[in-house]
């Protein structure tokens, strides 16, 4: 992360979103919305005086998924890059009610700006990497048998990561969210939302088998006299050194049970998991202090809208569609737009890094050229036939068609009217506009109406 921040060729714009992308390969114009941070980052030294004195202290920390607390002015986490503070406007007393302003008075760098506003910046780039990542499947909305999120000791794997992390809210000590006690029995349920057509997604999220093996190992390693139960459908360890790692977890004493958990309910302070062991063909009941759900990866919020704005497609699950599943795994259908990481489909860190480097190489290849050749099979407009109705404009998935005024001569002298114009760099030659044209003014070079009719004639006559 620090390498990114320090690299002279990288301009980092955080707390910002890309809202619009226009243009085409080699020549994109992107609009970046910078959200107000209420702190001048050119001045902020990251000293932390503001957060120390901020009176709004009991906000749930999103980074710790609500397991820890934070102040209204805060960093995402202590080692954040850049290591600057920003104000959560929804919870800041000054910004919501006008009172307070303690941080402004105390900031030694005088960096607080309560009048900070949203800013828009337009940038010109030649290529784009989509690396929008993933979110976790909202199991609380789908899995009633696991309590719809009402049991505090039924948590997701990412919560568990925060609990075992030395930088987490418990300093790496595994504790139950409900009472802070160390759990002696931890149950893991895999494929929550993954490989579940009825309640979740049909696909496998690929990383869960391995991180659950890691979690079970960590339970055995960190907690004395502990039990780690893993409820699984299959154990998938396709990766270098993965199977060995799974064996290490088994050797540490993790108990793998092949079966789905059908119900979780409380019994005293503990939770009961009703399941079956399908290898023994027997119903089964396990008592646990903590239950960890390996939830599916889903595309991150807003990913679909961004794909639409740029002009490429997503698959049935909302992941970005690669141009070819085997031969073009990092390209999209929009030339010059490449994919990296989980936005294209669930994957683990090694695969993500490999794909990101692949996307980078594609771009370096593109940038090694002075100019690019464009596909000549694009739509052309016969202006004399175009009525300017504009039906073709919204149909074009690449935003390549626009209505532009043209000068013409009529009986009463020159006049101006609108006619369709095709940006041949944007047009991908898909032909979607042709059926929309009622006057046959549009023709796709290489697939002209005349050619298509000739083909049909050859078949039918």
């Amino acid at each position: 992360m620090v390498a990114v921040a320090q690299h002279p060729n990288i301009e980092m714009i955080t707390y910002a979103e890309v809202t619009q992308v226009k243009g085409y390969i080699g020549n994109f114009k992107a609009t970046i919305k910078k959200k107000p941070k209420y702190v001048d980052w050119d001045l902020c030294t990251g000293c932390g005086t503001c957060a120390e004195k901020c009176p709004t202290k009991k906000l749930k920390d999103e980074f710790d998924l609500g397991l820890g607390l934070r102040t209204a002015i805060h960093k995402v986490y202590p080692q954040a890059v850049p290591g600057k503070f920003y104000i959560d406007a929804q919870n800041c007393t000054k910004l919501t009610s006008g009172k307070c302003g303690v941080c402004e008075k105390l900031c030694p760098a005088q960096a607080i700006r309560f009048d900070d506003k949203e800013e828009y910046q337009e940038v010109e780039v030649g290529a784009i990497v989509m690396a929008t990542g993933y979110d976790l499947f909202k199991w609380e909305e789908a899995y009633g048998e696991y309590g719809y999120g009402k049991y505090p000791d039924v948590i997701s794997s990412l919560h568990f990561e925060r609990l075992v992390s030395a930088g987490g809210p418990t300093g790496g000590k595994v504790q139950r969210p409900s009472d802070g006690k160390e759990p002696k029995s931890v149950a893991f349920i895999k494929c929550v939302g993954s490989r579940d057509d009825t309640k979740g997604k049909s696909y496998c999220s690929r990383a869960c088998c391995m991180y659950t093996a890691k979690h079970a190992y960590q339970v055995k390693d960190k907690i004395e006299d502990s039990e780690a139960y893993v409820f699984y459908m299959d154990v998938r360890t396709a990766g270098k050194n993965y199977e060995e790692f799974y064996q290490r977890s088994l050797n540490a004493g993790a108990k793998y049970i092949r079966g789905r958990v059908s119900k979780i309910y409380p019994r005293g302070e503990r939770l009961v998991l009703k399941s079956e062991d399908t290898l023994l063909g027997r119903p089964l009941e396990v008592e646990a202090d903590l239950v960890v759900l390996a939830t599916a990866m889903v595309p991150s919020e807003g990913a679909g809208a961004l794909a639409k704005a740029i002009g490429f497609s997503s698959d049935k699950d909302g992941f970005y569609q690669e141009a070819h599943p085997k031969l073009q795994p990092v390209e999209t259908f929009a030339a010059g737009v490449y994919l990296a990481g989980c936005c294209q489909g669930p994957k683990d860190i090694p695969d993500t890094v490999a794909q990101a480097s692949a996307a980078a190489v594609k771009i370096c290849g593109l940038f090694s050229k002075n100019e690019l050749a464009t596909e000549p099979m694009v739509t052309q407009v016969d202006v004399s036939k175009c009525s300017g109705c504009g039906f073709c404009v919204p149909i074009c998935p690449y935003n390549a068609i626009s209505l532009e005024p043209i000068q013409e001569r009529g009986h009463h002298g020159p006049f101006t009217r609108n006619a369709a114009q095709v940006n041949s760099s944007l047009c991908q030659g898909c032909g979607a506009c042709l059926p929309a044209c009622r006057t046959l003014a549009l023709n796709l070079k290489g697939f002209t109406n005349d050619q298509l009719v000739a083909e049909v004639d050859a078949l039918c006559l």
Binding site: H7, I32, N241, V353, M377
Partner: protein, 194 residues
């Protein structure tokens, strides 16, 4: 423009030839208006296969080429290049998909062959109306935009930046790092994620 079409029917090993009678397709093609040459070959995409196309263009003075083989997603670029190397415009070429859209989805040899013949007839009829098309060029802005500052975005940004190009990295949170920074140790090496 002269109408001198050459038709090349690919066996694709046994992928096509086991279901479609390629010789029969070539023989039928010779009867189509405009066709002056038709032949088959085991792998038209291979070096000798492309050589066959290039030589035929020169020897038979072909003006249009139809290649009946696999999906254009597979080898359209390959054949465009071969046609261009043979000396005619790369867009005076039509590809007929008699593999994915014929031999791979049918069993009846006679009917599949008839379908291949019909598809070739369509392509010949179309290629006779093809116009030479010219590739144009556009400039390139040597600057990349990376959307998302997780491990994928950071890796891509670093690699592009290391190659000497400018990168703009946009992240929606106030810090880069993404989900990875929330992780503790990572499998299978148990090294630290942050």
């Amino acid at each position: 423009m002269k109408k001198r079409v050459g038709v090349f029917v690919c066996d694709c090993g046994t992928n096509i030839a086991s279901v479609v009678d390629t010789e029969k397709v070539a023989a039928a093609a010779r009867q189509f208006p405009g066709v002056v040459f038709a032949t088959t070959y085991k792998y038209m995409c291979s070096d000798p296969g492309q050589e066959l196309v290039r030589n035929a263009i020169k020897e038979q003075e072909l003006e249009q080429v139809v290649i009946a083989s696999c999906s254009p997603r597979m080898h359209e670029k390959t054949f465009r290049k071969a046609v261009e190397d043979g000396g005619i415009n790369a867009y005076m070429f039509e590809m007929v998909n008699i593999r994915e859209q014929d031999s791979w989805v049918h069993h009846d040899r006679e009917q599949a062959t008839q379908k291949a013949i019909a598809l070739v007839r369509m392509a010949v009829s179309k290629v006779l109306r093809n116009q030479p098309l010219q590739v144009s060029t556009i400039p390139v802005t040597r600057k990349a935009l990376v959307i998302g500052g997780g491990i994928a975005g950071m890796q891509a940004a670093l690699d592009i930046a290391e190659a000497g190009h400018q990168v703009i990295l946009v992240e929606k949170e106030a810090s880069i790092g993404g989900k990875m920074t929330q992780l503790d140790k990572t499998f299978p090496t148990m090294d630290c994620a942050a």
